[in-house]
Symmetry: C2
Subunit: 337 residues, 2 copies
């Protein structure tokens, strides 16, 4: 175990992509805990598109990370010392530990004790059985509500949330079309995850592919990306379609917001219901979601796709993989086992 | 009574505005009715933004008016002869009579018998107590659901639907801000209809006016217009705001759809629910709506604003008043009394 606490501190707000100027790696002493606190060793750090948004000094659903503060981030860790009855030594916990090797839990900054499921990899707790799984599950259950036979389009379908959403929709009997970047990801969607069709957004004929794959129109759009492909999806929405507005990753690095979808009027003509949602509003349903999701995993109907990066110091580089689309499935960074 | 049937026939589809090339005025014989039909004399024709959309040969919620067909339009008329038990001579009826002086009702093309309310002007049946009133009522009751004290913004607030929506929201105890074009309309909104504030979209400082009038943000957007003002409204939506997507008149004359709202991402960040709706899905609620709306009219809480144009032959000119914003409230054309 390290005898110091390395931490990534926000040095300057990025205009576009995160660069080597964005964070500073500092080395502090391991925190000493007081009564009511628990010391947690960070094991796995979750890398999520939302991390990028937290660096912008603009109004959002949480305050931005402050200059000089440790970078905010979801992670999984192990309690190594506790002076709080809610935590016991050796326990696995999950929450906003931040980009640091050691963190402190307290009643004011609580962490979620992990309910370990036999036969499930540790990384899955940050993905399918964690925030990403809950995001996909709530988005489909509460907003998208696909009926058997309906056509569901999932953007970033090879990503952490998209791959779960696409599998849940498939389990429910919908016709599922995934949008992803590159032939490899598209093959994975149809061959390994059992989707009905995949659209390669990097191919010059992506629009033709989308039209061919959704010849009866689109009933549910599980939207993670935004931009011109969302626009093309909006133009193909059916009567009473639902848009689960979960993410808009294509614009997260843009200093100025791009124009919105030209097919906006189709939301009116087709009586579309669009609902923006942020998973943190739905944490109370984590138990219910994990029960169903882990059941499907046990039956072999649902699997975690993941890309693991090794080494704490790789964090600022690894996060950009999400925007380059070089990760497949959940992107996690392993700090220690 | 005229002894012929003048009718406006669609001659060519307009690219932008309706022009003198769009329709042809033809004169036919008065239809002879058969068993199962009723002959109706057109009295008042309703002019609505939706009329323009029906001229475009693009997929929409109804098929476009065909070249050579009589222009589709809502109207109010009187039954002058009937061979159908559903209609009796002298009865007032409402429905898609079209732009013609005489129309035929049948079971295949039914009209709605009018429930006359004492003390209400005939024009109100096409406005507050007709389709426009139902639109405003359903949009607020089912989608917007403003709570007392919440801030509701209504665009085209001096228009046929907007003026009713703004008054209903005021009756319900919301803080209501109307957007309208010109000082005269704005004064009418605050002084005559009792809105809390009005924003003049034609003033160079319209954005400052909007900010000042919605200092606590916006909880409900009853959207009739679209374009840059909708974009500014979207940027000010509060947590869990609702967008009643009722109309997008600013683009109805555009051959190519304009870019969508740049503040689109705010729908995600603020967990906004947006619902497109078309009033024709809700005709079954007309009775309930008219009961409540006519009650408010009787109590003096709700009034019909209207602009009346005289003369059947004025139809193609009068319709453009909606896009120039020269009408106040419901725009109707009086054919006969």
């Amino acid at each position: 175990m390290p005898e110091s606490n390395r931490r990534f501190i926000l040095r300057s707000r990025p205009e576009g992509r995160i660069t080597s100027e964005t964070f500073e790696l500092v080395e502090d002493a391991i925190p000493e805990i007081k009564v009511g606190e628990a010391l947690v060793r960070t094991l796995w750090i979750s890398l999520d598109p939302a991390n990028r948004g937290w660096l912008n000094d603009t109004p959002s659903y949480v305050p931005p990370v402050g200059i000089g503060e440790v970078m905010r981030g979801g992670a999984l860790g192990r309690v190594v010392a506790s002076q709080n009855d809610a935590y016991r030594e050796g326990q696995l916990v999950m929450g906003l530990l931040g980009w640091q090797e050691w963190a402190v839990a307290s009643d004011a900054a609580p962490l979620l004790p992990l309910v370990e499921v036999p036969g499930v990899s540790v990384g899955a707790y940050l993905g399918v059985l964690g925030i990403n799984g809950l995001t996909a599950w709530v988005g489909l259950k509460d907003i998208g509500r696909p009926q058997p036979g309906e056509t569901v389009v999932v953007s970033a379908a090879a990503g952490a949330v998209g791959s779960v959403a696409a599998q849940i929709a498939t389990i429910g009997g919908a016709r599922v079309v995934g949008i992803a970047g590159g032939r490899e990801k598209c093959a994975l969607l149809t061959e390994r995850l059992g989707l009905d069709a995949a659209v390669d957004r990097k191919a010059s004929d992506w629009h033709d592919q989308l039209v061919a794959a959704t010849s009866d129109g689109i009933d549910v759009d599980f939207e993670n990306v935004g931009g011109e492909i969302m626009d093309a999806v909006f133009a193909r929405l059916n009567l009473r379609a639902r848009v689960v507005l979960c993410g808009l990753i294509s614009a997260y690095n843009d200093p100025v917001p791009p124009p919105g979808p030209r097919a906006f009027a189709n939301l009116l003509i087709q009586r579309v219901r669009l609902q923006g949602f942020i998973v943190f509003d739905h944490l109370d349903r984590m138990g219910e979601a994990v029960a169903e999701l882990s059941g499907w995993m046990g039956e072999g109907k649902l699997e975690q796709l993941e890309t693991v990066v090794e080494g704490f110091e790789q964090l600022p580089t690894a996060i950009n993989m999400l925007f380059d689309g070089t990760n497949i499935g959940k992107l996690v960074l392993r700090v220690a086992d």
